[in-house]
Symmetry: C2
Subunit: 209 residues, 2 copies
């Protein structure tokens, strides 16, 4: 989260508004994605749109600041998972957390899926770092014999998006933790032997009607 409270020579209210705008933008991006309007962000922050443009020059500039912060959080999560002793635990935990980050913020889902838009240097750098982390996590899991040999680190990365749009399907409501069940099953499929028990929060377990 870069320069949230830069102590430059701006006035106190200006600094406060800047902070509020970043917080509001973060929430707006989470729920509405990167297409959120400048007016929505400003209103949520309790300021006028003029203030937004005065503080950040461009709507995109504000969005960039928020997105970089989100990437840093994903990176931090990856580092934590690399510190977990059990390689499988580390890998599966990171996949679950990355999937969670995607679900928590529609903006994250949009920006990690971008393939044709040119990323800013900050984003590119963090993307590479995240790839490195995933490679390390999968290599550890291979070495421990916990990960199927035909599953690549790219599969792992991609899998973290599998829970994205899995809330409803053809009249079925997956419930608030439905996506966790999907990711768990996916991880089970990637695991070399055995199963992980599904969490007990299953909706309608065997309720065939």
């Amino acid at each position: 989260m870069p320069d949230l409270d830069t102590t430059t020579d701006v006035r106190a209210d200006a600094r406060r508004n800047r902070r509020q705008l970043i917080v509001a933008a973060r929430e707006a991006i989470a729920s509405r994605g990167l297409d959120v309007s400048a007016l929505d962000i400003a209103t949520a922050a309790g300021v006028g749109v003029g203030t937004l443009y005065r503080r950040f020059g461009t709507k995109d500039s504000l969005l960039d600041a928020v997105v970089v912060g989100l990437y840093d959080e994903m990176l931090e999560s990856a580092q934590e998972c690399l510190r977990i002793e059990d390689p499988w635990e580390g890998l599966s935990r990171f996949v679950m957390e990355l999937a969670g980050a995607h679900r928590d913020s529609r903006g994250v889902a949009e920006v990690t899926a971008a393939c044709d838009t040119v990323p800013t240097p900050e984003i590119e750098e963090r993307t590479t770092a995240l790839q490195d982390a995933v490679i390390r996590l999968t290599d550890r899991a291979y070495a421990a014999g916990a990960l199927r040999a035909d599953v690549t680190w790219q599969d792992v990365m991609i899998s973290s998006r599998a829970g994205l749009d899995t809330d409803h399907c053809l009249g079925v409501d997956a419930g608030p933790d439905g996506w966790r069940r999907v990711i768990t099953l996916l991880l089970d499929g990637m695991r070399a032997p055995g199963h992980t028990p599904l969490s007990g929060t299953a909706p309608h377990l065997h309720d065939n009607s």
Copy 2:
């Protein structure tokens, strides 16, 4: 695909335009989703927007006709899979085909995810029929000991959306068949014992760089 060539007393060119509009709408819905504009459909069909409204009265009326057709295809696929002897083969095949239908048409993905909008009677009827089919498919798989006991038919339904948004993630390109790998892994996780070998079309197998 309802009344594609109703031989009512309309003129031949009117009937032809109606057909072209449905074909164009189907393609437009597939690539752009249900929010496609009337002008886009009409242009793709090679007619003016006036013709669209004259033939269908409402944009939604045209969309409904297309969507019902898509549901019928999903239902037909389900019936075919129920005719497959091996219960696991039948179940996994249907999940893959349902996932494929979701990927082939953005409109399908949007409409099967709808939970707050009230469905038309035609859609509701077909949704129930699809649920029944999935229940039958899973019950067969349970009985054969092929499906984990803690996996519900709702899990199966939801899983068919897992491959939806899995083309790119953090710089990784899943390739054209990436979603199939995801669904395969997911099915492996749902399977009672053993693994299904992943298809050989894996991009960058163990290309850790």
